[in-house]
Amino acid sequence: MSEVLLSIDGLHVTFSTRRGMVEAVRGVTLSVEKGEMLGLVGESGSGKSVTGFATTRLLDPAGRVTGGKILFRGQDVTKLRGDDLRHLQGAAMSMIFQNPRAALNPIRGIGLQIADAILTHKKISKDAARAEALDLLRAVQIRDPEARMNAYPHELSGGMCQRVMIAIAISCNPALLIADEPTTGLDVTTQKVVMDLLADIAAARGMATILITHDLGLAARYCRRIAVMERGRIVEEASPKTLFSMPQHAYTRRLVAASPTATSRIEDLVTEEEREGVVAVAGRPRTEVAHGTPPLLEVRKLAKRFDKGSAAVADFSMTMTGGESVGLVGESGSGKSTTSRMICRLIDPSEGDIVFDGQSIGHIASRDFHHSPLRKDIQMVFQDPNESLNPRYTAFDCIAHPLMRLGGMRPGDALRKRVDECAERVGLPLDLLPRFPHQLSGGQKARVGIARAIACRPRLLVLDEPTAALDVSVQAVVLQLLDRLRRENDIALLFVSHDLNVVRMLCDRTIVLRNGGIVEQGESRALFDNPKTDYTRKLVEAIPHIDTGPVLAAAL
């Protein structure tokens, strides 16, 4: 009935690195039928992107196909050279990438960039290519396409940039589109819009699509068939329903467990054997806050205006008690990061006050706040553990630094002991302490970041998307760690995230922000189960859930 478009047979890809040859893909076999959307799921390092790049022949020069075949319409792609290859790329198969803004040339108008793709494969005039580019912008539903033709990528939002990428990818009506993490880094609502668009276009044009993603929910929502990859191999291939109800392989089970859903609890995220890495510390029951205790943090009518334009945050008020966890959610541009940075005293508010433990700190200039004794008490965990650690500091230095600066400790046994304690607290093996960030995995770096933040025993921890850059299984462990810190050390958590499933699990209360103002707030579960505003409802509905069936039945 349906025709096989692409079949990969026993693919091996090897990278030559400084430490010798590394086999990234070890014998992948899969096939894609015409017009089908296949999900290729796995965590970082599983080889899913490498498989995609090998197929489109965009592998890094260090990578080489060392075995197997990639047959596209019966032709072995791995053997194509020169012009034959160029006729394939962009014309018969095309690719869209993660981080759309970086994938577009920053100094070339987007209209020209689309026209480039058209002119590479069609012998038409520049004007005709421009007209086609304009049609494509319309097809990907960019508002005011005429004006946007001359826009540069930095003038567009991330979602817009990804639409432009899609326009480039479909410009020559390819038979196969490989989408490598197309919505990672985009808001949930934008993610939904972009994915719906992609699915519609693929269905309308009869394009086969491989959706490479780490997000099981996303794959489940849009694909009929999902292949799970681990360490360069495909470990399981099934329909989403089978995959989630009866995962066969141990790795799939772990992945399914770690993916947060609307109903999951933090305890459910990790299977038993994984918890061993975390050193158990005797738990102590959470002390109930006596009635009438003054709040730990009180924010009154906070506002932030940047040089020009409207307020980034306006009239923001909230309170938190010790050991409480509050989620701050909203789309990008909603002001959640700005708010969290003001509370952390990294930037100055334009108006309003911040009262921490009875002391007003809103008026201490942020550049002087490191002198304040309260600096120790309010600490921050940053978004990307890969970017937020000094590459020349070892894990030890990184944790020891705040202890010396803020805790007044001197290098010596006491410092060493305290650093070891912190590392143990976050489940970081002590033999990793002399390592530099590039020698640590993403999850280990996240732990270093948290250990650094808790080193001075803060009472409030502000976390700005602490798990956004992490794999789900690592995210699960980090979330459990955070929850444990809150319960056992009575650290209040202000958790900034766009991942509503995570916020629902971790936070007692949630505040929904939009355009710098509070839209809705309340007890997390109640808020998400019965959103009162359309905006919150839209956010909740946009989360891809594992249990939803594929929406793309029309494609076949």
């Binding site: 160029r86 006729h87 962009g90 690719m95 990438f97 994938a103 793709a117 590479t120």
Partner: protein, 313 residues
């Protein structure tokens, strides 16, 4: 855009003022009494006094500086102590050869160095890359006068393809003019070409790793389209910067090159003026060179905004 350029021009005024102050102070920074220094070893006390008065050296420093600036603003750079000609006239006579030499060297550099750098980056790690970078180290290490004499010996004396030295104005014809400038331009450009080629390579290597280059490949674009449409323009900012900053190298190198090839340009005038302690001439030349340099930097800033739409003005 126009207002941006105007603002930038205004912003250069304080820079020029500081340069002017420094240039004027040269006379006073040099050890000894300026009048005695200028008068020379055999001068009588009366001679020294006369020079002191004629140059106004007996007046307070700031008043001297003020009247000097005032005269410069009116186009009067003073009069040479040695030739008694106005400094502006002397500079005007020597400007043509130096300007010609610098323009030819600049063009030669851009035409040679940028493609070399692009090819080296494209073929990074290959034999071609190593050869180009080896040549760059070589070009960087050789002093201008060595290259100059070797070139003159081989191409002028032995092969007799080009004149040994001298200068012919452009008004006497394009080829005679160019003929005299080819060897000096190569000698002067060696360091500059090496520098720009290296920076081009580094900037291109950086750009070629960016995601949008992969996108261009995914579109099926050819190698030249990727290198020149997508990569080179993105690498342009550091390249333009170095080309601009390198003008300073050219100014310094021109002094030596003009001596080697007997070109009657500003470089020679500079040396002569220094040897004769002809302070008004030295001041005039240094001021001119500084002005050129500031102007070049202004041009670089304007080019940035043309190359990169993300740079706000």
């Amino acid at each position: 855009m126009l207002s941006y350029i105007l603002r930038r021009v205004v912003a250069t005024l304080p820079v020029m003022a500081i340069v002017a102050l420094f240039v004027f102070s040269l006379l006073y920074i040099a050890p000894g009494d300026p009048a005695v220094v200028i008068a020379g070893d055999q001068a009588s006390p009366e001679d020294v006094e006369r020079i002191r008065q004629s140059l106004g050296l007996d007046r307070p420093f700031l008043i001297q500086f003020g009247s000097w600036v005032w005269r410069i603003l009116h186009g009067d750079l003073g009069t040479s102590i040695f030739t008694n000609l106005p400094v502006s006239t002397m500079i005007g006579q020597r400007l043509g050869p130096t300007l010609s030499l610098m323009v030819i060297t600049l063009l030669l550099t851009i035409v040679v160095a940028v493609p070399l750098g692009v090819v080296a980056a494209w073929k990074a790690g290959s034999l071609i890359d190593r050869a180009i970078m080896g040549f760059a180290v070589f070009g960087f290490s050789l002093p201008v006068f060595v290259v100059g004499y070797v070139l003159a010996y081989v191409f002028a004396l032995e092969l007799e393809w080009l004149p040994v030295q001298g200068y012919t104005p452009l008004t006497d014809g394009f080829w005679p003019w160019l003929q005299n400038l080819i060897l000096p331009a190569i000698a002067l450009g060696c360091v500059y070409i090496a520098l720009v080629a290296r920076i081009t390579r580094a900037a291109m290597l950086e750009v070629l790793q960016q995601d949008y280059i992969r996108t261009a490949k995914a579109k099926g674009m050819g190698q030249s389209g990727i290198l020149f449409i997508h990569a080179l323009k993105n690498a342009a900012v550091p390249i333009v910067t170095v080309i601009g900053l390198g003008i300073a190298l050219l100014i310094g190198g021109a002094v030596v090159t003009e001596s080697v090839f007997a070109i009657p340009g500003l470089g020679r005038l500079t040396i002569d003026a220094i040897l004769r302690r002809d302070y008004p001439v030295i001041q005039g030349i240094v001021l001119l060179f500084s002005f050129v340099y500031v102007l070049v930097n202004l041009m670089i800033d304007v080019i940035y905004t043309l190359v990169d739409p993300r740079i706000r003005y």
